[in-house]
């Protein structure tokens, strides 16, 4: 924040030094750094991501089952307390967070990419609109649980064989969550493409000879990003919880992999005798969803071509 403050103060004195070059991304970053909530979100997110990447190497806690210390509350020895098998909760949260965060981000990335592609094509090319949207409707109307069962049975063994048991399950879960969440994004993107492609600036771009690709990527997509980003940030929390649902149904990671959703599920039964167990993983999910939301908000404002700087 220090550098930005400096920038602001110098703005008044020597304006020509503040904005040496104007580029889309430079401007976006400049706007983004002005947004306090977004910056705070970014720091918290970065902290959490670093914590789960580096944390497990620095701290594992005691993960051996020991009933003598089961369900202990937070103490200097166990900062987040222990679970019913006497395992250190902080160690489990750090370890499981890797998977939860990775699943959340990757699954949403897949959903957004797929949804944006389908939505953009459907919205821009009128001929493809109807078939693509019917496919979207088809996906929306698919019953989720039977579909999950089918997907898991079809791909689990294959993926396990190719990528090994852990990466295989990870890819499968990420794929399954992604494939079930792209439809709303596709609809959003299509809707904004439909309205934007009639706008004067698109006509102008076409007049000066821009091709379809350039119009889509350069002119329409940046203008339709805001709803996508909002959907994405909300999707991350959803994906983390969906992963735990899958595990709960026995379709996801083995039960001894302590993803945040899994921890939350296990702890639910003990909420009145060991509240710390449910609070910490819950807090982690809450904080990461909140910070991603703030970052998303900031990004939306920053990337909006109609923003006022």
């Amino acid at each position: 924040m220090a550098t930005t403050t400096q920038r602001v103060t110098t703005t008044v004195a020597t304006p020509e030094r503040v904005r040496p070059a104007r580029s889309l991304w430079g401007d976006a970053w400049y706007t983004f750094t002005r947004d306090r909530l977004a910056m705070m979100g970014l720091f918290v997110l970065a902290f959490l991501v670093l914590a789960v990447i580096i944390g497990p190497y620095l701290y594992t806690g005691t993960q051996l089952i020991d009933f003598a210390r089961s369900l202990e509350g937070p103490s200097p020895e166990h900062l987040m307390g222990t679970d019913d098998l006497g395992r250190d909760l902080l160690g489990r949260v750090l370890n499981g967070g890797r998977i939860s965060i990775a699943v959340g981000l990757t699954a949403v990335f897949i959903a957004i990419t797929l949804g944006t592609t389908v939505g953009a094509i459907a919205g821009y090319f009128g001929k493809l609109d109807n078939p693509l949207m019917r496919i979207t409707d088809l996906f929306l109307s698919l019953p989720v649980l039977p579909l999950l069962l089918v997907l898991v049975y079809l791909f689990r063994e294959t993926l396990k064989a190719i990528f090994g048991p852990e990466l295989g399950i990870f890819l499968m879960i990420v794929f399954v969550i992604g494939i079930l969440n792209w439809m709303p994004v596709a609809r959003l993107v299509r809707a904004s493409f439909l309205s934007l492609k009639q706008k004067e600036f698109v006509e102008a771009a076409r007049c000066v000879g821009d091709g379809d690709g350039r119009i889509i990527f350069r002119h329409i997509l940046p203008n339709s990003l805001s709803p996508v980003l909002v959907a994405a940030t909300i999707g991350v929390g959803g994906a983390i919880l969906t992963e735990s649902t899958l595990s709960f149904l026995g379709l996801g990671f083995p039960s001894d992999v302590p993803t945040w959703g899994r921890l939350l599920f296990d702890a639910g039964n003990f909420i009145d005798i060991a509240p710390h167990w449910v609070i910490f993983p819950g807090l982690c999910i809450f904080v990461i969803v909140l910070s991603i939301n703030f970052v998303g908000d900031g990004l939306r404002d920053a990337l909006d071509p109609r923003r006022k700087i």
């Binding site: 051996l64 089952i65 009933f67 089961s70 369900l71 019913d84 098998l85 069962l149 049975y153 063994e157 064989a161 048991p165 709960f248 149904l249 026995g250 083995p254 039960s255 001894d256 296990d266 639910g268 039964n269 003990f270 005798i273």
Partner: protein, 585 residues
């Protein structure tokens, strides 16, 4: 049929269609209901009785039941000829006037013919008279194969059931049947009304409207039924005992989960009776102890949580041959490995921590725990029944399994890597974690797998217990008062395979001629003491050969019962609703 019980899950068949402990030396059966508290009550004196099952009934016909919930919901309406009491012997609280025994000449000396005397003057809830013909018809319905009754196993060895006159029924067995109460007693033999079900025999049973609103002789009759939700009953004005039932109406509510049911019983008192409270003992114990509203009522029977060992090769690389009986498990074919696995299984901790040390289960190394004379005493001294990690390590060392740098033992290219599957359930996942830790200390590498109970207990899913495409699996099963059909599930003839559509009961693919011989003698032996010996012998053989690793003898009924509700007295061999006519407040 296999009486398997999921701690949590949907549609798990657990019809307590049990049978009487047979034999001439058996004690004489008691008559009448178990409760004697009926002195001052009159019919319909109480208000509404609220029963809560976290699995909702979907059909009101015990013969088509997909789980305990259906059979129990039916029991309020329909009755068998007699119920099974706590000792496994019949209690004459049903349609029979008395229990036939060899002593009263109701059972012939060759154990082939059983003559039942029925109560006279009993009426169906629609006012028409009940006769022996209805009993004979029930047999026809249940034992016609096309009916596809879930109680069909009761028909095994039954030659005929005939109505001699209006109050006499003769059950004839093809072969000598030491276990002569198989047909007619307990939850698997509820009597249907011929008039109502006459068009529902055979394939027509599938779309039988009578299953939605059956007419019975029981204390209550169905008022409204919303499948998968709620059944409401009103008292049966035509019930044979003029003083019963005590309650004017019953609401049988389904849905939710075990945890919520426990709260509804112990903390809010919404339910007078809450079924199957399979909640972690750490949570359940304080809830039950602090409750001013309800008591935890349990009864021990033959339900044993066990770990099954696979004798076939479940490797996916075998393709179509996967898990076929003629394949051999890469390392469980070595008895030392099985023994080490058993010795590293800490049933004591599991029972203490997760089943509350007697609250909902106690440790056992016997696969047959009841009736008591058949509960093996010798097993306590078996080395495979003692938790001893050092001994397990030694066993594997001397068998030539060497620990690698990753801590996993191997012999040549074969590594001791096992997949351990069970149903999705908090308690079971905890047990898995404890087992994994101990087994990994011995040099196994354990991958845990949990499958939704609805999927696990089907013969169609590759993740199911029947396919058993993992190395070890864990669930609970229980038997009849007579263990013959229970032990039959480990004989060569019962080996499950693709050829029998994974319908047979020997999931292990275990085949041992010595064991088959014991079961064969059990089928024909009529002397009760010798039967007890045979049963314990069969039990001990399964343990020493480490076919199965029994862990916990679980309570058969685990119910939250309102402190004001009287007369609840569950038996381990019959429906929890077996004596609902005697319940009062």
């Amino acid at each position: 049929m296999h009486y398997r019980r999921a701690i949590a899950g949907f549609g798990v068949a657990m019809l307590v269609a049990a049978c009487g402990q047979p034999g001439p030396s058996g004690a004489s059966p008691s008559a009448g209901g178990a409760s004697a508290t009926t002195a001052a009550t009159t019919r319909g004196q109480g208000g509404d009785l609220k029963i809560l099952y976290w699995q909702a009934p979907t059909i009101l016909n015990a013969h088509q039941a997909t789980g305990t919930k259906d059979a129990d919901a039916t029991r309020l309406v329909m009755e068998p000829m007699a119920s099974f009491g706590k000792d496994g012997l019949p209690v004459a609280n049903g349609l029979a006037a008395e229990i036939p025994t060899p002593a009263n000449n109701g059972v012939t000396k060759d154990f082939k013919t059983v003559t039942w005397k029925l109560r006279s003057g009993v009426k169906w809830s629609d006012g028409t008279p009940f006769t022996a013909k209805d009993v004979a018809f029930t047999y026809k319905y249940q034992c016609t194969k096309e009916t596809a009754a879930s109680t069909f196993d009761r028909c095994d060895n039954v030659k005929s059931v005939e109505a001699k006159d209006d109050t006499t029924v003769v059950v004839t067995y093809t072969e000598s049947q030491p276990f002569y109460y198989q047909w007619g007693v307990g939850g698997g033999s509820l009597i249907l009304q011929e008039k109502q079900y006459t068009s529902c025999v055979g394939a027509a049973a599938k779309n039988c409207t009578a299953d939605q609103k059956p007419i019975g002789t029981g204390p209550y009759k169905v008022d409204t039924f919303k499948p998968g939700d709620t059944v409401t009953y009103v008292m049966n004005e035509n019930y044979r005992d003029a003083k019963k039932p005590y309650f004017k109406s019953v609401t049988f509510k389904g849905g939710g989960d075990a945890q919520a049911s426990a709260r509804a019983s112990f903390q809010t008192g919404e339910a007078d009776y809450a079924w199957n409270l399979q909640v972690d003992a750490t949570v359940l114990r304080p809830m039950a102890q602090q409750s001013t509203l309800a008591n935890l009522v349990t009864v021990y029977g033959s339900s044993v949580e066990r770990i099954l060992v696979n004798f076939s090769d479940p490797s996916p690389s075998l393709g179509d041959r996967r898990g076929e009986p003629d394949t051999k498990h890469p390392f469980f074919s070595d008895k030392a490995v099985r023994r080490a696995l058993a010795m590293a299984s800490d049933r004591g901790t599991v029972a203490t921590r997760f089943y509350g040390d007697g609250l909902t289960g106690k440790p056992t190394c016997n696969i047959l725990t009841a009736p008591e004379p058949m509960n093996s005493k010798a097993s306590a001294s078996f080395d495979v029944c003692k938790f001893d990690v050092a001994a397990a390590n030694k066993e594997l060392d001397s068998a030539g399994w060497v620990k690698g740098s990753d801590g996993v033992r191997a012999k040549g290219p074969i590594k001791l890597e096992i997949t351990y599957s069970t149903t999705v359930n908090a308690v079971r996942q905890n047990v898995q974690n404890v087992m994994k830790q101990n087994w990994e200390q011995v040099g196994f590498k354990v991958t845990l797998k949990s499958v939704d109970a609805g999927v696990f207990f089907t013969n169609t899913s590759p993740d199911g217990a029947n396919h058993f495409w993992t190395d070890v699996e864990m669930f609970t099963n229980s038997g009849d008062p007579d263990p013959t059909s229970y032990f039959n599930g480990w004989t060569c003839a019962q080996v499950t395979a693709k050829a029998n559509n994974w319908n047979f009961g020997n999931y292990h693919r275990y085949c041992n001629k010595d064991f088959d011989a014991i079961v064969a003698s059990l089928r024909t032996e009529t002397d009760q003491n010798k039967r007890n010996d045979l049963a314990t012998k069969a039990n001990d053989l399964l343990l020493t050969d480490v076919v199965v690793i029994p862990l916990v003898n679980r309570t058969f009924a685990t119910s939250g019962v309102s402190k004001s509700l009287k007369g609840v007295d569950p038996t381990p061999w019959d429906s929890e609703m077996w004596n609902i006519a005697d319940w009062t407040k």
